[in-house]
């Protein structure tokens, strides 16, 4: 992650602030910074979204490709995550410098989506054992302002919501299978994301914990908990990271916080996705020209 080296006094100032429920930008411990989001801004993709939270800027693109289902899951399509940390975000990421962070984000995304009940892979299957859709979800990190995991998961969910897979008609002719892919942009299959999880990262700072940590706060945090939370308030993929430890009581508190915030996050995200859909074609694409 972008290196932030803080002095001891700055760290203490931040720690006491968290304890006081007054963070360096005046937020309380469970407040998010405001998020801006736009979907469908890349025409080369099946679905795309850009999410910006303070300085964190993440672009997610979904590409649907035809492939064969893996032999142990013959009736399911696949979801593949790939994360790239662009050097645009910080020179540290040049060359292979961002790979470790990218792998970390990729692993957590894979883990939170790795449960059949929250993302329907069977809908991506065209012919069992033969043809299925593989959704490549590519996440591009363009700027870092802290809280990358949460923002990445928001971008992924929004991009999946925006995904419009062309309809496929299967016809069998003397045992030969023929696939016909519709090129009508309105004859499409949407991806169901209602139950997909969002990641909430809860950072332990001093004796309290916060959500949506800024870069400086992340530098003060020894242990953080990332958890995927669905709209149904179930939890997918919890994980403690960092070199610190937590006592069982505060672990429970942090999970409670994560669950509470995650529920809200999912709801707000769906609301604004629906809002954008309502604006429909009236809305001009903004992209990076804003």
């Amino acid at each position: 992650m972008a290196e932030v080296d803080l002095s001891d006094a700055e760290k203490i100032f931040i720690k006491h602030g968290v304890q006081d429920n007054c963070r360096e930008d005046g937020r309380g411990c469970e407040d998010y910074r405001h998020i801006e989001l736009e979907t469908g801004l890349l025409s080369n993709t099946t679905g795309s979204a850009r999410v910006r939270l303070a300085n964190t800027d993440i672009l997610a693109g979904v590409k649907a490709e035809l492939g064969t289902p893996s032999p142990d899951k013959p009736n399911k399509g696949r979801l593949e995550f790939f994360v790239d940390c662009s050097a645009n975000a910080t020179p540290v990421f040049e060359g292979r410098g961002g790979e470790e962070l990218a792998a970390e984000i990729g692993n957590i995304l894979t883990r939170t989506y790795d449960c059949p009940s929250c993302f329907d892979l069977e809908a991506l299957c065209i012919i069992p054992e033969e043809q299925c859709w593989i959704l490549y979800v590519d996440v591009l990190l363009l700027e870092c302002g802290g809280n990358l995991f949460d923002v990445a998961s928001i971008a992924v969910k929004a991009a999946l919501y925006n995904t419009k897979i062309p309809k496929v008609t299967v016809s069998r002719d003397e045992g030969l299978v023929e696939l016909e892919i519709s090129d009508d942009p309105y004859d499409v299959q949407r991806v169901e994301v209602q139950s997909a999880p969002c990641i909430v990262t809860v950072c332990k700072i001093g004796h309290s914990h916060v959500v949506d940590a800024s870069l400086k706060e992340e530098a003060c945090c020894l242990a953080r908990l990332t958890m995927g939370v669905t709209e149904r308030r179930t939890v997918t993929g919890v994980r403690k990271e960092g070199s610190g430890s937590l006592d069982p009581a505060s672990l429970e508190d942090m999970m409670q916080t994560g669950k509470r915030v995650g529920e809200l996050l999912n709801k707000s995200l769906m609301d604004s996705l629906l809002e954008e859909e309502r604006q429909g074609s009236k809305k001009k694409p903004v992209g990076f020209l804003k």
């Binding site: 645009n88 591009l140 804003k290």
Partner: protein, 245 residues
Amino acid sequence: MAGLELLSDQGFRIDGRRSHELRKIQCKLGVFSQADGSAYVEQGNTKVLAAVYGPHEIRGSRSKLLQDKVLVNCQYSMATFSTSERKRRPRGDRKSQEMTMHLQQTFNAAILTSLHPRSQIDIFVEVLQSDGGNYCASVNAATLAVIDAGIPMKDYVCACSASYLGDSPIVDINYLEESSGSPEITVAVLPKSEQIVFLEMNGRLHEDNLSKVVDMAVKGCKDVYGVLDRTVREHVSQVGSSLET
């Protein structure tokens, strides 16, 4: 040309342009706040982001340090979703390494490198969507980002491509035209002094036609310059006026 008519009898190209017309260029300076300079350029459907860091202390091995001038360090990278067929890697392949080198050469020629000895300038380019002319858009975006960072350079560097179709040159070719097998010439120029700082040609072209195509590309560069300069002037005026209050 496989059933595709790249140039109609009326002289219109596949996207409706005439042979000398550029695609629509939209650009913006200062997209990000953490980089010293950044810019975004859209040329038709090709979309590129550029960020500039520096001049700053040399990072990593100090053996790269140059005593008398600044080290210009570039990276060209393409988002995995930028192409119509998904790319497996954003960078590190031969093509992007070549692009990285070209960018480095181009900007070494344009930046006044002797002003910042012993330091380093990073120019990072990220192609978000590719529809032909990636290198041109990258150079144009990087120029804007360098200007946004306030790094002194001799002149803008503007890049444009051109090809030869039927019996006339066409400018600023898109992906379909690029992949049709017709020759492609990419030129980067310093528009005011009319110096060519980069020139590359792919494909086969009769030598008689070379100068026509190059002229077309250089003309395209000057048109690009017009658009970029207008954007910079607007940006400086807008920000400058709020600075004064």
